[in-house]
Amino acid sequence: MSLLAAEHVGKRYREGRRERTVLDDVSLALHEGELVVIYGERRCGRSTLLRILAGIEAPDSGTVRFQGRDLAGHGEESLGAGIGYVRKCFRAGEEQSVLAQVATPLLARGISVRQAQLAARSALQRTGAERCAGAVLSELGAGETVRVTLARALVLSPLLVVIDEPAAGVELSQRDGVLAQLRTLAGEGTAVLAATGEPSELAGAHRALTLSDGRLRGPAVPELARVLPLRAGA
């Protein structure tokens, strides 16, 4: 069974008096330990698709199942139990330390401060951001911010991480490290679903698909993926 399975997903938005079809009959399956990246131009609907697949937004038609369960009506629950959606912004507590920020999702679930901080340190270590633990958010570079937000999603031990534009704004010298981090997560068994408008962020993906005119093109299920030799560092 697929970890995540979207079937015939459709989404339309009203723009003034016109209606725009953003997603048209999109189907996609994702297995554990897979890194799948969706590429598309700006306004192609890739962020909408990610939000729908993460259970944050409901589709107009079609279904999205996570571990066999329909996300309709359970999206927010799944976000805390199984799906980690990487938010690039920090809503409050800008002056909090990185460690405190990463620990917040656990504290919100009633975990003790000590346990939450231990888990937060472990998540930061996993994303290569352990040195940022004592810093405040304003002191972080773009690459570090990505690693910290990734750690905040990982602290709840999700089976699937969803991330939009993983390396946006990250310096070229750090970009490959961030992308390699996603590949490492997948290698450890966590499925990763990313979307990007920057082709270089497709690097290392097990499957790469394109989204344009609301249609998803490419290997929608793992079995259709062309077997790519994993070259050095990819």
Partner: protein
């Protein structure tokens, strides 16, 4: 070969690739064959071990490389190859010429796509396949995270990976443009026309 004869232009990618290796580090035929396999794995291949000897002979004949004549060398000694000034210059020229070669290949591709444009649906299907091939190549391109191999190997992998990503990124953007053009063309054609 008659000394007055001008050798035909060298087209063999294998020969040029081998010349590059000799320029990088003068060496023996066997070692060059090993380095060839390591360096060009997946991109170029020797048809057999003897292929390297044929290629080296061709490079010698064209005056692009010479066999070293170290003192005390006997007829049974292994022959070491090194580049000539002419070889280094022509290799540099060939590298520059690859820009034109790349453009030529792309022109052929465009002409092929143009041949399909009479039936836009067919051209769009070909374009989709082309786009998928591009993104699959980008996904498989070497990244900078590799710790494998010596420094030079890692550098080559990084350079090759970035070149692949940047080149194919431009092609991906072109497919978006081409798709819009073909869709516009399809919209002008009567329904059901092939």
């Amino acid at each position: 070969m008659n000394a007055r004869e001008t050798p035909a232009r060298m087209h063999s990618s294998v020969n040029w690739a081998l010349l590059g290796l000799v320029i990088e580090r003068p060496s023996y035929a066997y070692e060059l064959a090993r380095r060839f396999e390591r360096t060009y794995e997946g991109a170029l291949s020797l048809s057999s071990v003897s292929h390297v000897y044929t290629a080296l002979a061709s490079l010698c004949e064209r005056g692009l490389i010479v066999q070293s004549s170290a003192a005390g060398q006997t007829a049974r000694s292994r022959r070491r190859y090194q580049p000539t000034v002419k070889g280094i210059a022509e290799h540099a020229q060939w590298l520059v010429g690859q820009v034109g070669e790349e453009r030529r290949r792309q022109r052929v591709l465009m002409a092929q796509l143009g041949a399909l444009a009479k039936t836009p649906a067919r051209a769009l299907a070909a374009l989709d396949a082309y786009e998928q091939a591009c993104i699959a190549e980008i996904a498989a391109a070497p990244g900078a995270g590799s710790d494998e191999g010596p420094g030079t190997t890692r550098l080559v992998a990084r350079l090759a990976g970035e070149e692949t990503r940047l080149t194919l990124a431009a092609r991906l953007r072109w497919t978006q443009y081409a798709r819009a053009q073909l869709q516009a063309l399809a919209a002008t054609q009567p329904a059901g026309s092939e």
